[in-house]
Symmetry: C2
Subunit: 336 residues, 2 copies
């Protein structure tokens, strides 16, 4: 049973994803249990996952068999189900709809022990192409309007499997966080006739102190009001609303800066847990003029507790200017 419910006060949506009736004691058991057996994402274990929806493979290799470099499969335990109609309904102050969406896993490499920070540049590029290809395919489903691509690296960042992978969830609702960005950008555009992110990039590049690294197309910044220590935002320097409409050259340059930032974080913080989140224009909002896609990268070094949950404030023990300086100072060997 899967259902989407809207909080009647703050408008936040919650996905209820109930595989089976869980008893309260299940929470303890699950925390204690370790998955056994071979890794379902490794070559030779293709039958452990649902059938692939996309794979970049060696010529001649068969679907759902070894020979792939990047492989995308439906999540075996999806948060949202792909079949059915949304069927929105209200009951007094309450709004809900069926839990419809797509939940897929992007297996980034056949190598269980690799990581995005260590893969060759061309391979990271292929992962970005997989993000793009799946987005373009799912955009054709008129039930959806937005898509969240994200990566949980390390158990403390929510990864339940070690094998390098990202995930995507296609949604029938524009997420609250994305909507907040859209609203702020629309308002800035109305007042100033430009893009708020472009203005921020310009100011931060002039100031310089929060710039970690840049290349021909991208800049990596530690945001002025970073919530977390060593949080980094990767932004295209030229205005663009949608990740999936970028050119081949842009994916190449994104792979390069992403790898460099991940390498710097990996070295500086000893392979910390992190989350990576892509924010891109929802395809049902005409926001090309004012929205600006970007990647958020947040190492998980500090916890979040009652104060943060209660207020929406965050407490960060590291200034972004210090974080940027430490990240810039990491020695990096240039490869490829």
């Amino acid at each position: 049973m899967r259902e989407l419910r809207k909080d009647p006060i703050v408008g936040r949506w919650v996905i209820f994803s109930i595989e089976r009736s869980r008893r309260p004691s299940d929470f303890q058991l699950e925390a204690a249990a370790k998955r056994g057996g071979p890794c379902p994402f490794c070559p030779g274990q293709e039958e452990s996952t649902p059938s692939e929806v996309l794979a970049y493979r060696s010529v001649g290799s068969a679907p759902n068999a070894p020979g792939w470099q990047v492989r995308v499969v439906p999540n075996r335990y999806p948060a949202l189900g792909i079949e059915g109609a949304l069927d929105e309904r209200t009951q007094g102050l309450f709004e809900k709809m069926n839990g419809i969406g797509a939940h897929e896993v992007i297996i980034e490499t056949p190598d269980h022990h690799a990581s995005l920070a260590t893969l060759p540049l061309a391979h990271i590029e292929a992962v970005l192409w997989a993000f793009r290809d799946r987005t373009l395919d799912l955009m054709q489903d008129t039930r959806f309007c937005s898509l969240q691509i994200f990566k949980n690296h390390g158990a403390a960042a929510g990864a339940s499997l070690e094998h390098p992978h990202s995930q995507l969830i296609a949604l029938p609702i524009v997420p609250k966080r994305l909507q907040e960005e859209l609203t702020a950008c629309a308002e800035y555009y109305r007042r100033h006739g430009g893009c708020l992110f472009c203005a921020l990039i310009q100011q931060d590049m002039q100031m310089g102190e929060r710039v970690v690294v840049e290349n021909a197309a991208f800049v990596a910044l530690t945001p002025f009001a970073s919530r977390f220590p060593f949080e980094v935002c990767l932004l295209p320097k030229t205005h663009a609303a949608a990740f999936e409409r970028a050119s081949r050259e842009i994916y190449h340059l994104l792979a390069a800066i992403l790898r460099e930032v991940l390498q710097r974080i990996h070295t500086l913080l000893q392979d910390p847990p992190y989350n990576l989140m892509l924010h891109s224009a929802p395809w049902t909002t005409a926001c090309d003029a004012y929205y600006h896609w970007h990647l958020e990268l947040t190492p998980r070094l500090t916890g979040v507790a009652g104060f943060e949950w209660g207020t929406g404030f965050y407490i960060n023990p590291t200034l972004p200017e210090e974080a940027a300086r430490f990240l810039r100072d990491v020695p990096i060997e240039q490869r490829d």
Copy 2:
């Protein structure tokens, strides 16, 4: 060095609280280090904390010495500093001010091994009185406009010390989460001439399925769009905007329902980690007609990862109707 910075896109505030220049490797060391020595919140260790700002004591006992039942002290490692002016300033798109606020610890009992779920009713009432007394005192400081009272129970909920305690942070800004509630309630009031929370309470009490327990003044509900399994909201049934202006009888009845809900959660989920957060009207907003104070109680049974951080969506494996039924069915011995 403490500084408050505003995110120029979504308007979220971040507290930068830099006790000393932390090197990146400090994050690993801190995670590994365990505090040694006696508990600074236990009787006899009063010199381990800053001087008390409030204590309910046996007649004749001296300040900062044993003999107290509830003791409130400034946090030794405050997120915000109590001295100085806010000194708001902007730099282009960036806004910041000095990190001014009050950060206090409410030591709930001298008994290191007690918990809110097991303390006598009169003692829980005394803790609520301490919340109220500190709020009334801090409201006189014109630099502040709002106050977050919260409790982190268990390491997974962010508690760094085991001894039962809550915290409060007085803030110079109305927090984003509270502002979202205020905005929604003001809008509902404008349209319908009533309180949104009152309407929700009425609907939920009529439906019944999400009611955990109620008494003469309070109802405990599992919210329709609960973010977390077994999340409970405790609300006064009669409209009231501000916690600190409640009558003596209200604190008595709040202590009773809070203890009962905590006991049910403690028994059902085997003393899980949880956060408790009080939402009450900021004293600089004239919202008496439309805001409704309440307590949010969220057990920490599930994690939050890239999807939740990226979207503001939550994934909950337990329906609130099921959670309420499980909580209602817990056998409770009536005491006091």
